[in-house]
């Protein structure tokens, strides 16, 4: 195997690793982000359809309610 093709294979391997990890990481983090997003919604907005990723308005009331009460 020549030097150049070894370099090329290394580069391709790195690209494949990134692609696989990004795909899995997106799948892994979606439920987590969804938990975060829902935690910032008021109760009526949690049932909204179609669901919204960015809560409007952003409500911190759930956090106050569960820590201070």
């Amino acid at each position: 195997m020549s030097m150049a093709s070894a370099q090329e294979e290394k580069k391709r391997g790195r690209f494949e690793t990134h692609a696989a990890l990004i795909l899995i990481c997106v799948l892994m983090i979606v439920p987590f982000l969804w938990m975060l997003s829902t935690s910032l919604k008021t109760l009526d907005k949690t049932m909204e359809f179609p669901p919204r990723w960015w809560p409007r308005p952003i409500a911190f009331s759930n956090y106050w309610y569960s820590t201070l009460r």
Partner: protein, 295 residues
């Protein structure tokens, strides 16, 4: 034993006595009692009456018992290999020195920090057949009739398996620790012999971390057979159609819902025997595929 030795022993025992007393009172005694109860008719309200092996005989003729055992075994057959392969593949990917490695590692481990009940709540929401994020995504991908997940007897068990894969991060961490111990000179030797990426994985990496794989296999085996919290919260009574009525859920119902503590205890001891048998088989096969360095 000399006088000093005896005095040292007493002192030592006194020092560990908080643990020793706690262990005896809250672990050892209940374990022994549960074996006694498994031989008794015990309703929790009246004192136990010795009945011999009747509880075990009843269970052998109980279709719900066999059904729940089947559910647990089917879950284990799906979740165990999938979890092992995913964790191993992920740890190999996360061990490659690339940009953003620590970010990837953090994201993979993040779900393991979510407590069981919170996890159950998020996934109940995600799996909702009409409003859930998963089916919404599937419809966007052009699947007009996505599965009903936890509401569909054919899909509820696979749904729990998929969810269990979300918590794969713990196992990945253990694999990653193992991967750091693979001797570099073995890779250098493999390079000199002209081994490719996959040859190196199968002939160097996997044999070198085989003790770690074995450890994770045993832990996962015990964990899947004891699966309880998530189905108990997410699919009460094994809904729909007892498709997710796990062994441990029937055990719990027998002991605390139907107040048949005797039968519940018998189930616990049968479960122990099942786990012992399975881990015993794993240990027996391990002689063929687990390689300890320096031996």
């Amino acid at each position: 034993m000399s006088k000093i030795e005896r005095r040292n022993l007493i002192k030592g025992l006194a020092f560990i006595s908080p643990w020793l007393i706690g262990f005896c009172a809250f672990t050892l005694l209940p374990v022994i009692l549960s074996f006694y109860f498994s031989l008794c008719d015990y309703t929790l309200l009246q004192p136990p009456v010795l009945r011999g092996l009747e509880n075990y005989r009843d269970l052998a003729h109980d279709p719900v018992f066999w059904g729940s055992l089947q559910v647990t075994m089917r879950f284990a057959l799906l979740a165990l290999p999938l979890g092992m392969i995913l964790a191993l593949a992920l740890s190999l990917l996360l061990n490659v020195k690339i940009w953003g490695q620590s970010i990837y590692r953090t994201i993979i481990f993040l779900p393991s920090l979510v407590p069981a009940v919170a996890l159950a709540m998020i996934w109940l929401w995600l799996y909702n057949p009409k409003l859930g994020l998963i089916n919404l995504g599937l419809r966007h991908l052009g699947i007009s009739d996505p599965p009903g997940w936890l509401a569909d007897p054919h899909w509820s068990l696979p749904a729990l398996v998929i969810m269990s894969l979300w918590g794969v991060g713990n196992t990945v961490i253990i694999y990653l620790a193992g991967l750091q111990d693979v001797p570099l000179e073995l890779y250098e030797a493999a390079d000199l012999d002209g081994a490719g990426r996959f040859a190196k994985i199968f002939h160097v990496t996997l044999p070198s971390i085989s003790p770690v794989i074995f450890f994770n296999l045993i832990i996962a085996l015990i964990g899947t057979v004891q699966q309880f919290t998530l189905p108990f919260i997410m699919t009460p009574n094994g809904q729909p159609a007892r498709a997710t009525y796990f062994y441990t859920m029937y055990l719990y119902d027998n002991a605390f819902t139907y107040l048949k503590m005797g039968q519940g205890s018998a189930m616990a001891w049968i479960q122990l025997l099942i786990i012992l048998t399975l881990t015993g088989i794993a240990f027996w096969t391990s002689k063929r595929w687990v390689y300890y360095q320096g031996k």
